[in-house]
């Protein structure tokens, strides 16, 4: 039987202390995953991984060092401690140094591992076939996508006496469906395998492709109301979540760099939660990398910035408390949820006099993180809306505006929530459709 990952972590911490480090923490992941990749409605490759990943945090006299290795054996992980001894003396003390926290009670999070995921990992192809045949039955000409199933054990030990472990499964599936030039894409991410959810992903992608058939037209650059799908909301919330990290704020990579918690930063209806304690969400976990318990808590609540995301180091630097979001260096969101509203998608569209519906996006980039000047490209089905009705598909548009403005101009949120995870949404986000008013839309010069 394989050694427990927390024991492996514990042995590395002991080795580090024996070699003269004052503090140490070790995270050991042992994981298995399988991915089926599809294109042109067939499987292009099936890949399987089995890996051991070890991360070590070592500190001495305020000097800190983090090593991540994929060792060919656990003995090799020990060798990195030996090397670190030589390196540590050359380092300067870190301006971010604070001691690792004392252990706190961690309530385990039941339901992180789903046996049906583990069972399906030995033969994942039927899941892919089911998605492809669902899309095919709805008239899709070709489809591409991927299904990933994973099982991972996470073990943590620290020199403060923390010793924890957790087993979790993961499912991520997405499909892009094509009918002629039209396309639709949808995705799901969860800790649990529900084959009907995978079929729903395929069906939604196919339905969007079908709705987007017909001549896609340009819209002129200008301000429009925008209805954003949970795929798009997920992508943009990844950005907000990243910017809520306290180190991102310190490094000038955040719209929160010039505001304090308690400030109004979004529309009153908008609440964004870092949600690690909801076990079905991909990314959920009971403890952070310092061994502190995680908590589901609002980052933005009722439009007000409630907290940045902290580890012990950023908390000490900014006179705050850790929020259970370590990252030894970078605090980060685990998984994000947007609170639902009470609108249906149809009701949102009816509210729009002149606007666009964007069902998917990619390539979000910023001109300035502090001011949140960004653009992102609509991908797949997108529609022009006039006087509450969808008029025609649109092509090649961007949202090019300021993130704070977009957050402040949210007017309606959908009542239905979707768990999204794919290439452009990671960590996973539970999100509704949203309607935001008067957002700048651009298009390329031809």
């Amino acid at each position: 039987m394989a050694e427990r990952v927390s024991d492996l972590a514990g042995a590395l911490v002991a080795e580090a202390l024996r070699r003269g480090f004052e503090e140490a923490a070790a995270l050991v992941w042992r994981s298995k995953s399988v991915m089926v990749k599809m294109f042109n409605s067939e499987i292009s490759v099936v890949q399987r991984w089995s890996s051991l990943t070890v991360s070590l945090y070592l500190a001495k006299e305020g000097r800190i060092m983090v090593s991540t290795i994929h060792p060919s054996s656990i003995e090799k992980a020990g060798a990195i401690v030996e090397r670190a001894v030589k390196v540590a003396s050359q380092l300067k003390p870190s301006m971010l140094y604070a001691p690792l926290p004392e252990p706190a009670k961690v309530e385990p999070l039941p339901g992180l591992a789903d046996k049906s995921v583990i069972d399906a990992m030995s033969e994942p192809e039927p899941l892919a076939e089911a998605m492809l045949s669902e899309a095919d039955s709805l008239g899709v000409e070709r489809a591409a996508g991927a299904i990933t199933l994973s099982l991972s054990e996470k073990g943590l030990a620290t020199s403060k006496g923390v010793k924890l472990e957790e087993e979790a499964t993961g499912v991520e599936a997405y499909l892009r469906a094509f009918i002629g030039e039209a396309s639709g894409q949808w995705a799901v991410g969860s800790r649990r395998l529900r084959p009907e959810e995978l079929r729903r992903v395929a069906r939604t992608a196919a339905e969007l492709a079908s709705q987007a058939k017909g001549e896609a037209k340009h819209v002129e650059p200008g301000t429009y109301d925008v209805v954003l799908s949970p795929m798009v909301v997920g992508n943009l919330m990844n950005l907000v979540g990243m910017m809520a990290g306290a180190l991102a704020v310190m490094m000038g990579n955040s719209i929160f760099a010039r505001v304090q918690p308690g400030s109004k930063v979004a529309a009153e209806k908008f609440t964004l939660v870092d949600d690690p304690r909801t076990p079905e969400l991909l990314g959920s976990t009971a403890f952070d990398d310092e061994g502190l318990p995680t908590a589901s808590k609002p980052i933005i609540e009722g439009g007000v910035l409630r907290t940045l995301l902290h580890n012990s180091k950023t908390a000490a630097k900014m006179q705050a408390k850790s929020t259970g979001n370590a990252g030894w260096i970078y605090p980060h969101a685990w998984t994000l949820s947007v609170k639902p509203g009470d609108a249906t998608l149809d009701e949102m569209i009816r509210e729009v006099k002149r606007g666009v519906v964007i069902t998917n996006n990619w390539y979000t980039r910023l001109q300035n993180y502090v001011e949140g000047i960004f653009s992102t490209i609509a991908r797949d089905a997108a529609f022009y809306v006039e006087n509450g009705e969808i008029k025609h598909p649109v092509t090649r548009i961007r949202i090019a505006d300021r993130l704070p403005k977009l957050l402040s101009n949210i007017e309606l949120l959908g009542k239905e929530l979707y768990d999204i995870s794919w290439w452009e949404v990671s960590p996973a986000v539970r999100a509704p459709y949203i309607l935001a008013r008067q957002i700048n839309i651009s298009r390329p010069f031809e």
């Binding site: 490759v45 991984w49 502090v370 653009s375 490209i377 991908r379 961007r398 090019a400």
Partner: protein
Amino acid sequence: MHEDLLQRCVDEALKLGASYAEARFHRHIGSSMFTRNGELIGYGESIREGVGIRVIVNGALGFSASNSLSWESLREAVAEAVKLARSHAKLMKRPVELAEARLGKAKYEALCLKPLDSMGLEEKIAVLAEIWERVKGAVKEAKVMTLTASYSEDVEEKTVVNSDGALVVSRVPRVTVGYNFVLLHPQKGTLQRRFEFGGSGGLEQLGRWKPAEHAEEEAVRLEKVLLEGVEPPKEPVDVIVGSEIVGLIVHESCGHPSEADRILGREAAQAGMSFIKPGMLGQRIGSEHATVIDDPTIPGSYGFYLYDDEGVPARARYLYKNGVINEHLHNRWTAKLFGVESNAAARAMDHNSEPIIRMANTYFAPGDHTFEELVEDVKLGVYMRSYMEWNIDDIRWGQRYVGLEAYLIENGEITKPVRNPALEITTGAFYSKVDAAGKELRFYPGSCGKGEPMQGVPVWFGGPDVRLRSVKLGVVA
């Protein structure tokens, strides 16, 4: 060093029924550090090593990887890859086949004149601290709100063995230095700049880059942009696109759409597709000045290699030649489908990754103009020297680059700074509107993302300054 073990993996796969097998030992040993306002935040090291196994069985592709180098683990990984391929072979409509290729038996190393360990960590930290000192002292009216700087190094070692006879051993060290600063002025707001140097080789590169000097000079110019920048003209004007942006443009709108796997749709649900369709070789995409080359063999380049991960010898690829779509980027699978030879574009990020089609060092071929000659016959125009925001749609046709350091050109002279001009343009329009290219070629490093799971591989992109005639620029909202 692992040839025998890898050959044993290949033999085992063939014994189990594979028609093709490939075993790649792949190791990265790296370290990185970053500072804020001159003070060290953290230092990290990483080691990734293992073997990636790729097989074809009954026309289907299987891939598996193992951290462990024990024969038991590797044999298991081989059996797994064969099983994965066999189990979905029955679903394949079009079997995977590889084009014939002349494969290498070779060993090479990227030149490293000053080894990575020839400087201590303290000296490397000092390189970053100096960036802060110089930038802090450079701005006068604005304030440096924050400056982070980073240093990283990585040594990539590979041994590729396959059943068609390849045996390629390589070692490529790489170094990067980057900085990110925000200038703040109470009335004018903020301006942010990120920049990175990178290349293969050793620490001799630091002497060429002079990162602190570069950052200081940029800060001086960018403070002026923050304080004095005006809106770009609203009417169509001539635009001189700076080398840094030209490099990114050719990467995004020539290199990516030229990837043959993307053209075939294999990346459709992730990195997307291409406006280039099979059969478009020979079609015009731009003016005669538009030649774009991707060349993995440039010494010192960030995307340097001499053989790809299928063992095919690398060469320069002329993707667009004098305005015509000339050649795609191929691995052996797409080469077979297109009826050509592979031009060695198969690369994997690490042992856990399947080799897929990637760029290496993509650049716009230089022309014959000096910068002054490009500017002198522009009556009204904008020179965009650097950028922050950019993106491109998934068929690589509609793209946007927002200028950071930019200037108005009036009557053949650079006059005042311009704030945030947005060049949002189609690929066809960009290459068609180039009427002159500068003679000075410069390169910039990047990590290019593609694949599922995402693989980031080092690339260079570059070019000279180029001039576009009559383009309408956007204004940032």
